[in-house]
């Protein structure tokens, strides 16, 4: 067993557990976006950053940081609140997230985080990039305007479904989630049409066609449900 401190409370953890998992068990809320139970942690969104006081106040993504003996973790503080809000504002400013116009309005993790983190406006200048829409798939749509590049769809496709249809192209803010080698998703010979990517998507970037906003409720937890039932090596 490992003993560490989270927000001043001493907690015990198993070796190999992450700071986020241990915080969750201890009832300490840490906001997350790219993290999803059932998928490998990526540390892509940085919203789950915590401060490790006895590592010189270093900031680490709690979802991808294994616990260590004697760690003194700050999970919630005015500094972290401000950092997390700024990170969230960067996500909003990077693409065209227009909640009123979105099919996931009311069922969106990005929108929920804005409420949780007190984001009543975006202080950074918006980029308003011109981005394409891929509606070639028979059942699903992909709107790059609403994508936060969390990678949950890419991991669901490779780690859970094993199809490896979805991947990233480009770099930085120009990164795009693409099917196969950038062909229209509907033409993909590898996509099984399982929809795990859609269920895992935290925003309206991936959505089911023919479903109205009120019906567009996703079940990201199915990825963990599926993987938990699998026999372990």
């Amino acid at each position: 067993m490992i003993t560490l401190t989270i927000d001043g409370v001493r907690v015990q953890a198993e070796e190999g557990e992450t700071v986020l998992e241990v915080a969750k068990k201890a009832g300490v809320r840490i906001p997350t976006l790219c993290y999803l139970e059932g998928l490998s942690p990526r540390g892509a969104c940085r919203l789950c950053l915590v401060e490790v006081r006895n590592w010189g106040g270093r900031l680490v993504p709690s979802c991808a940081t294994p616990v260590q003996e004697g760690m003194d973790v700050v999970a919630n503080s005015p500094r972290l609140k401000e950092l997390r809000r700024t990170i969230l504002e960067m996500l909003f400013a990077e693409r065209n997230h227009i909640c009123a116009f979105c099919v996931s309005n009311g069922h969106c993790e990005l929108q929920d985080l804005a409420m949780e983190l007190g984001m009543d406006h975006v202080r950074l200048p918006y980029r308003w990039p011109l981005l394409p829409l891929d509606l070639s798939h028979a059942k699903y749509g992909l709107d790059h305007n609403r994508c936060v590049l969390c990678g949950r769809c890419v991991e669901a496709c490779s780690e859970v479904e094993g199809a490896m249809t979805l991947g990233f192209s480009g770099r930085g803010v120009f990164t795009l989630v693409e099917a196969d080698l950038g062909d229209p998703w509907g033409k993909s010979p590898t996509c099984t049409g399982c929809g795990k990517c859609v269920q895992g998507c935290p925003t309206g970037a991936l959505f089911e066609k023919g479903k109205a906003t009120s019906e567009q409720v996703k079940r990201p937890q199915i990825l963990a449900e599926v993987t938990e039932r699998r026999p372990r090596a």
């Binding site: 227009i98 009311g106 409420m115 009543d120």
Partner: protein, 175 residues
């Protein structure tokens, strides 16, 4: 007691926020007791008056008239409120922002330079629809598309009583 001088303004938006304001219903009576509506789309006053205590501005800054008026309003109003998502984020009017202004004009009017639209009395279309705080300092943000009457009242009532409004959680939900 001196009544608070309140104004409301309608820029590039659908007037939904003003409809929501009217949905205050019986609360409008309490509003009228404590405040005077000195300028608004629903008040027949043409010039934005001096010494306004609170102004609620609906809509994004979409054309040169909005830009000019916003700069003038900022000098005349003590508390400026971004009223609704269009004023807070650009929202639906900002859907055109990734496209060049000329392409939008050509698509809608069939010409990049529609007669009358770009000169004289008709204000010029800005290259992008901007949230208010991209142009002037904003004192409060009241998101929502539209913000519900309940949310507006939660914000407005403390203002009428001279207190600081504090919205959080579900009351700052965008969309």
């Amino acid at each position: 007691m001196r009544k608070l001088r309140v104004a409301t303004v309608w820029f590039s938006g659908c007037s939904g926020c003003h409809m929501s304001f009217l949905d205050l219903d019986e609360r409008l009576l309490e509003f009228a007791e404590r405040a005077e509506l000195v300028f608004s789309p629903i008040v027949d006053v043409k010039e934005f008056p001096e010494d306004v205590d609170v102004v609620l501005i609906e809509g994004a800054v979409g054309n040169t008239a909005h830009l000019r008026e916003l700069l003038e309003i900022r000098t005349k109003a003590k508390i400026l409120v971004a009223f609704g998502d269009c004023a807070v984020t650009g929202n639906v009017p900002s859907l055109r922002n990734p496209l060049p202004r000329e392409e939008v004009l050509a698509t809608v009017y069939g010409t990049v330079d529609p007669p009358g639209l770009e000169e004289g009395e008709v204000p010029k279309f800005l290259p992008q629809a901007l949230p208010l705080h991209a142009v002037v300092p904003v004192d409060y943000f009241l998101p929502g598309c539209p913000p519900s009457a309940e949310r507006i009242w939660k914000f407005l009532r403390p203002v009428l009583l001279g207190q600081r409004p504090e919205l959080s959680g579900a009351d700052i939900k965008l969309g």
